[in-house]
Amino acid sequence: MQTDLHNEMRQIIDNSLVGEASPEQQQALRKHLLECAACQKYASDSRRAIVSLNGFSFAADPGLTEKVHAALALRAQQLQTTRPNRKRILQISLAALLLTIVGSFAALQVNGALAAALHLPLVQAQAGLVTLWIAPSWCFALLLPALLLVSARSANRKGQII
C-alpha cells in the first residue's frame, strides 16, 4: 500500500536523522525521495526543525561563572583540610608494622626466660606467647591502615558542609 510505503519512508527519515538508519535503508530512502514530493517535504521540515535549534543563544552569565569559580576554590580548600592524609596514614602503618616485627622477634628471644619464670614447658610458653601477644599484634598492625582510613573518612563526613 502506498500509505504504508510513505510511513515506512518517514520512519527511515526519522531513523536517519537520529543516526539509526542502515546503509540499505538510506539507499532506499534516497531513491524514494527522488520521486516523492511529500516525503521530500517531510525530510525538509525535519531538517529545518533540527537546524532551528541552533537559532537560540543561551549565554552564560559571566557573574555566574565567577561565582562558580569562587565556590569551587572554597570547597576544594575545605575538602583539602578534611580529606584523609594518606601519606600520614601510610607512615603510621609502616611504623606499627616495624614495631610489630621487632616486638615479635624480641618476644621469641625471651621465650625461654619466660617459660622458666612461669614454670611452663617451652612449647606451651611459646604457644601462649604467639596466641596472646604476637598474633593479635600482627592482626592489629595489618588492620591499622584500614582503621585509620575509615576513621578519617568518618571525621571528614561529619565535617562536610552540606
Binding site: 521540515d45 533540527i50 532551528s52 537559532g55 537560540f56 569551587l72
Partner: protein, 205 residues
C-alpha cells in the same frame, strides 16, 4: 578516514583520562578549565530540562560542586559530557522533588499516550518570559520557541542531547536512565512536535 578516526579516538581517550586523573586528585585548576569549557553547554542543558531560567544558576553551581566532590567516580572510560549531564539531571530531579511532588519522567510515561500523566503542574508555571523566547536569534528559532516552551521536559531533553550536544544514543541512555528504544522514541516525539510547528506555520503563511 579510518586512521583519522583512530587518531581522534585516541586523542579523546587521552583527554578523558587527563580529566579523570585531575578530578581524582581534586585539581582545582582543571576544574576551572572545565567550567570555562562546559559552562555554556551546562546552562543550555538545564534550561532545556527545566524550561525556565530561574533555579538554573543554583543548579549550575551545585553541579560543579558535585563534580569536585564526586570526581573520583569519573574513570575516563567515556566522555566527560554524559557524566556531567547525568549529575546535572539528578540534581534537577532532586530540586524539583523538594519543591513539590513533581517527577521529570518516570518509567511509565512513555508507554502512555496520555499527556496529562506527565504534564508539568500548573504551580510550576512562571509568569517570567520563556527562556526560549528570550534566547531567539533567528526566524526559524522564533517559530519553534513556543513549541519548545510547551513541550514535555523529557522530549526537550532528548532534542538538546541529540541535536545540540550530539550525544550518541548509548550516551543519552546512560544520562536519561532509560533504554535505547525509549531514547529514540523521545527524540521522534520531540522532533514530531517541532515539525508540526514548521508545517503549521507554512499552512498559515
Amino acid at each position: 578516514m579510518l586512521e583519522c578516526d583512530e587518531i581522534m579516538a585516541e586523542a579523546l581517550t587521552t583527554d578523558t583520562q587527563r580529566i579523570a586523573r585531575g578530578l581524582r586528585h581534586g585539581d582545582v585548576a582543571l576544574l576551572h578549565e572545565l567550567v570555562e569549557q562546559y559552562q555554556f553547554r551546562l546552562v543550555r542543558y538545564l534550561i532545556y530540562l527545566l524550561g525556565r531560567r530561574d533555579s538554573v544558576d543554583d543548579l549550575v553551581q551545585e553541579t560543579w560542586l558535585r563534580v569536585l566532590e564526586r570526581g573520583r567516580s569519573y574513570n575516563g572510560s567515556s566522555r566527560f559530557e554524559p557524566w556531567l549531564f547525568t549529575i546535572a539531571r539528578n540534581l534537577t530531579i532532586d530540586h524539583l522533588r523538594k519543591r513539590r511532588n513533581f517527577s521529570l519522567d518516570s518509567g511509565n510515561h512513555d508507554s502512555s499516550d496520555d499527556p496529562e500523566q506527565h504534564r508539568e503542574p500548573a504551580f510550576l508555571a512562571s509568569s517570567a518570559p520563556s527562556p526560549f523566547e528570550l534566547a531567539v536569534r533567528t526566524e526559524e528559532a522564533h517559530r519553534i520557541a513556543h513549541t519548545l516552551d510547551t513541550l514535555e521536559p523529557i522530549y526537550r531533553e532528548a532534542l538538546v542531547l541529540r541535536f545540540q550536544e550530539e550525544l550518541s544514543l548509548q550516551e543519552m541512555s546512560a544520562v536519561m536512565g532509560v533504554p535505547l528504544t525509549t531514547v529514540s522514541s523521545r527524540i521522534y516525539r520531540g522532533l514530531a512536535s517541532l515539525r508540526s510547528q514548521m508545517e503549521g506555520d507554512e499552512h498559515a503563511n
